[in-house]
Subunit: 230 residues, 2 copies
């Protein structure tokens, strides 16, 4: 029985069920747990001594903020190609003295020079191309930096089902899928983790997810080997 | 500089500030993180092989539910001396097939015989005696069981400032204080952990908390030695 890759529709359906009256999760809860999982993934692969300065690239959602505040011991900085209204999680980051860079290209250029690793949380599984400004140049600059990249759920610029067929997506070294991996990342050949240790058995069985067993108290599980076989 | 013990008033004030517009935390977030910390404490002291069956004793709040669903690998069961309305967290526990016992004494008696360890989350820091029915007999029965007890924040029946002066409180083996230890637990001499890794430095400095450094990615830090010295 192998791990199931999710279509866009199924990924959305599982999210909806988790947050339905029956599933009973709040968005705050899921975001918090996913944030811990992503931060833990980065910490597992890129040790704090050598990779202290993390550039967390955030999209319209709140996931990047949640990860930033969970990067215990690191020096995160937040970059948003398009700064929106200040969310509660963004305020929490400010209270923790995590800086938010300007949204212009020059800020990103400077930040890339003084970062050790990229946490890519720009686009999630609902991204649909084409890749419009200012995100197009942001992705190009991040790729050109040559820094190691940890992507969340779907590498930014990839289609949730077609993957990086369009070619403008990031090429991360590490991927942390949330809840279950998506169709689009079947071809991903880097180090692959799974996070989102909150899916009830009933939901797992209903959708035949065949999730792996998380070790001990970890919020993540390494699925590199499991996905290589698929 | 030693760890500060909190009065009832100060504990409430810190909670209020965390959840104010400036602090920006939601109750869901804080409950989730505290739940992970408490579950991790139990797992650290009472290994899952020998102490698989955890009786989680819950009060009017939601903290016990949050702990129950984070007891990865264990077989938790929920006991509430007084069952209220079903919260979202309680629904999540039901979805995870965590049973909730009847609120009668016979259910508790039976459950105590088939449990390996107690997680005491009945009363928090806002408890004020006297200890009324049905909580009085529940505490007596839990004490009489002789099972090891992990208490959350304040052992149930203790006053947040006067401690167990009234004498009817539980005598836990392990305590996990949340945010910072409270005045009432100065005399506690068991194994003592601190959880609540979310207090921003500014708040810590404002109130002179002198919090210890949490190791690695842990949600808890052992403060047994630190509090012995105070």
């Amino acid at each position: 029985m192998s791990l199931r890759y999710l279509s866009a529709r199924l990924a959305q359906q599982i999210d909806n069920e988790l947050m339905s009256a029956a599933g009973a999760f709040s968005l705050d809860q899921l975001t918090e747990l996913a944030g811990l999982a992503c931060a833990q993934t980065l910490a597992k692969v890129y040790g704090v001594e050598k990779y202290n300065r993390v550039l967390v690239c955030c999209g319209p959602g709140n996931q990047g903020m949640s990860i930033s505040k969970s990067l215990f011991g690191y020096k995160p900085a937040i970059y948003m190609p398009k700064v929106g209204s200040i969310s509660r999680l963004h305020t929490q980051c400010k209270n923790m003295s995590i800086p938010t860079l300007g949204e212009d290209e020059e800020s990103l250029r400077t930040a890339l020079k003084s970062s050790d690793v990229i946490l890519d949380a720009i686009f999630g599984f609902s991204f649909k191309g084409p890749n419009r400004a200012p995100f197009d140049s942001a992705l190009s600059m991040i790729s050109a930096s040559g820094l190691p990249i940890v992507s969340v759920d779907i590498p930014s610029g990839w289609d949730v089902e077609a993957g990086n067929d369009a070619g403008f997506g990031l090429s991360p070294d590490v991927l942390v899928s949330l809840t279950a991996p998506k169709e689009g990342v079947r071809t991903f050949r880097g180090q692959h983790f799974l996070g989102g240790r909150f899916v009830p058995r009933t939901l797992e069985e209903k959708f035949g997810l065949n999730l792996p067993i998380y070790p001990g108290y970890e919020q993540i599980v390494d699925i590199t080997e499991a996905t290589r076989k698929l």
